[in-house]
Symmetry: C2
Subunit: 84 residues, 2 copies
């Protein structure tokens, strides 16, 4: 499983849309706080593998292109650990 503390450090780029505590500011984007870590990993990998396209997915693809599998696991652990 990922390392939540490391995930927190890597989450700076996510905050603009997903909020500081994973609670979104823009209602078009998902709240991440308390979401399932395995699902978050799946979603990030789907963006990275180009399985999600169009609209907002293009923004996410840009963000995740630079993430390693470890980064993804850490970010997923971090957001899953936040209180929804």
């Amino acid at each position: 499983a990922g390392d939540a503390a490391a995930g927190k450090e890597k989450s700076a780029g996510c905050m603009a849309c997903h909020g500081a505590e994973g609670k979104v500011k823009v209602p078009m984007y998902p709240n991440l706080a308390g979401q399932n870590a395995l699902y978050l990993q799946h979603a990030l990998q789907a963006y990275k593998k180009g399985e999600r396209n169009g609209g907002q997915a293009e923004v996410m693809k840009a963000y995740v292109s630079g993430l390693s599998d470890a980064d993804i696991a850490d970010l997923a652990a971090y957001y899953a650990g936040l209180k929804p």
Copy 2:
């Protein structure tokens, strides 16, 4: 915006994976309770338009293929209204 009560009636098919109160049983799937309605609509439309593919997306595509835009709005309103 969607009609949450109508959404509840249409949510029978979702429960198998997303749980009775939108809190998932299978950690690979997302919790839906308290998620943003606009995001939920966006995600369901993305499955319906084939913007999300591969793996679990194929399961979702089968479920949403029969949903109208009104069904999607109602389901989104229902799950957004549940306590996370």
